[in-house]
């Protein structure tokens, strides 16, 4: 079994609002999945269900466990960094390491200390004395020192400057990720991570709009920049989205082969951000 997460008909509602609405998907081992959606799309609720922080309807299995009912066992093999899961401000770095070492069977203090020596963070500093970037670095050092099978990152770099953001993902790829580990990440800065992803999932109004590998994405979706009659002919092939740029029509096609589009204009692979906007607009029609 390579499937790490299996969701079948998972729903979660708050009163009459369906935050997650009958979603089904699988996440395989050794993948980096980007979960992309606008605010209020249900991303965080879905992540919370995966992490056992909230109960849900349907069948949800993470590492073969029921996340809500077997949360302690699950948390031995899952790590998460959420923008809202802030480190306590009163704690010292050394105390934080002591604590995680005391409660987490898969934590290597030595690794965490090695990672920390590569930063400006000192063991006797309190979290409240660190900048936001350093707090995220500290959290990442701890997470990377935990031998976990699934890492969930919910807007991990929100509010950080570009240097910290680049470093964060570089560390994650170089020092952490391997084929035995799986990363699930949500972010608004999708253009920064799209080159890291192996898989992508779009979510809107609690429903999954797209669930694909990045390789399949470039086969399925094509963007054409065309003008005049070429644009008219391209329009006839049924683009899912069209925008104007520098006097040219930029059309996005789904499932239309490249041969059909060649000769109509400049063909390129759409960015995840453009595809996301097109899919959301399509869903809201």
């Amino acid at each position: 079994m390579t499937s790490l997460v299996t969701a079948r008909g998972v729903s979660k509602h708050f009163g009459s609002v369906r935050a997650v609405d009958d979603v089904s998907f699988e996440i395989d081992r050794g993948r980096i999945l980007g979960l992309i959606g606008p605010n209020g799309a249900g991303k965080t609720t879905l992540l919370k269900a995966l992490l056992g922080l909230t109960d849900c309807e349907g069948d949800l299995s993470v590492l073969g466990l029921d996340p809500f009912r077997q949360r302690k066992k699950l948390m031995q093999n899952i790590c998460f960094i959420a923008d809202v899961a802030v480190l306590p401000r009163w704690i010292k770095v050394r105390q934080l390491l002591d604590y995680v070492e005391g409660v987490h069977p898969n934590f290597s203090r030595k690794s965490a200390e090695t990672y920390l020596t590569q930063t400006q963070i000192r063991p006797e500093s309190k979290v409240r004395e660190l900048s936001k970037g350093m707090v995220t670095q500290l959290h990442l050092c701890i997470i990377m020192a935990i031998d976990a099978k699934l890492l969930v990152l919910d807007e991990p770099t929100l509010g950080l400057d570009i240097l910290f953001r680049k470093e964060f993902y570089a560390n994650l790829l170089n020092d952490y990720f391997d084929e035995e580990r799986t990363i699930l990440v949500t972010t608004h800065q999708v253009e920064e991570i799209e080159n890291l992803l192996t898989d992508i999932m779009f979510i809107n109004d609690g429903k999954i709009l797209l669930d694909s590998t990045m390789d399949a994405l470039s086969d399925t979706y094509v963007e054409v920049m065309a003008t005049g009659e070429d644009a008219q002919r391209a329009r006839g092939l049924g683009p899912i989205a069209e925008t104007e740029m520098f006097g040219k029509s930029v059309m996005l096609f789904e499932g239309v082969s490249r041969e059909h589009l060649e000769g109509l204009g400049e063909i390129r692979i759409p960015s995840v951000a453009d595809l996301f906007v097109a899919k959301i607009k399509e869903a809201r029609k």
């Binding site: 302690k72 899961a85 306590p88 409660v103 987490h104």
Partner: protein, 305 residues
């Protein structure tokens, strides 16, 4: 399991520095008070008598022994009042601040269940805080006995006989320890209630915790003209069922006890069996268990987003 519990309790020490700062501060204040008294006593003719904790004319063995026991119990009392405040503020803060500063999701990202977290806080309130306070009491007593011995010896007195010979030190300490721990268990329904308020309230835990204790008896009186709730809470405060039919306050006023004071053992006035078999002790533990379970339930099921 035990190692993890110890880590969780250590965490409480890091977060709530008042756990050890309070007994330290009181210990320092008491010691400074005793030192001031020793200096003050130097101005009087009967300075040796005065030095034995401020009571005049304590020349007799019995009186000196009573004076020392009163010093022991009096200073313990200051610590215990502080302990009551400490437990109230600690428990009300323990599950509230983690939600307010949003660190709860970090704590919950680690393999520790909500039950383990809440129980670690309950154990800290019922056992660890009282034990730390008792340690503070004992250390303060020892330091003050040593300081006074040095002073008495410097004035030519026989400190060994006058001070150490008169102090039923182990007896008083064990008495304090048993009363403090049984008292904390006896009051545990309130601790459970404070934990539940701390896990549940969105703001002002202190007000939310004490409001029902004031409002419910008032409403009960207005609506039913009865006082069951008020008397239940009041009796819980007054009647720790461990004393062997003795009133500690009256005890020292009763002259008959003076004669047998050298044989006096405070522990003899405690009946641990009575405490452990008293139905209300167990009723209290059950109420505490139910309220703590409710606190665990709230922490587990409440969506913080």
């Amino acid at each position: 399991m035990i190692a993890q519990l110890l880590t969780l309790i250590r965490r409480e020490f890091w977060e709530h520095r008042s756990i050890w700062v309070t007994p330290l501060a009181i210990g320092i204040l008491v010691t400074l008070g005793v030192m001031a008294m020793l200096v003050f006593a130097s101005g009087f003719a009967k300075e040796l008598d005065l030095a034995i904790f401020g009571a005049q004319n304590l020349t007799g063995d019995n009186e000196r022994r009573i004076g020392l026991i009163l010093f022991f119990l009096g200073t313990s009392w200051i610590f215990l009042i502080a302990l009551a405040f400490l437990i109230v503020f600690y428990t009300l803060d323990s599950l509230y601040t983690e939600r307010k500063d949003k660190s709860i999701l970090f704590w919950r990202s680690l393999p520790v269940t909500d039950a383990e977290t809440v129980v670690s806080k309950l154990l800290t309130a019922v056992f660890v805080l009282p034990l730390i306070m008792c340690a503070g009491i004992f250390v303060t007593h020892l330091i003050n006995l040593i300081l006074t011995s040095i002073w008495v010896a410097a004035k030519g007195g026989a400190a060994g006989a006058l001070i150490w010979g008169s102090v039923p030190i182990i007896d008083t300490w064990l008495f304090t320890l048993v009363v403090v721990i049984s008292g904390a268990i006896w009051m545990s329904p309130f601790i459970g209630w404070f934990l539940l308020v701390s896990a549940w309230t969105k703001r002002m835990p202190l007000l939310v915790a004490f409001m029902p204790i004031i409002v419910v008896p008032l409403l009960e009186w207005i609506v039913f003209r009865t006082r069951f709730f008020a008397s239940a809470v009041g009796e819980r405060n007054d009647n720790l069922p461990i004393f062997r039919g003795m009133d500690v306050e009256d005890f020292f006023e009763d002259k008959e006890w003076m004669h047998s004071i050298q044989e006096l053992r405070l522990l003899e006035f405690l009946d641990i069996g009575k405490f452990l078999t008293h139905p209300e002790t167990w009723l209290g533990i059950i109420v505490c268990g139910l309220l703590t379970t409710a606190a665990i339930y709230v922490r587990r099921f409440r969506d913080e987003s």
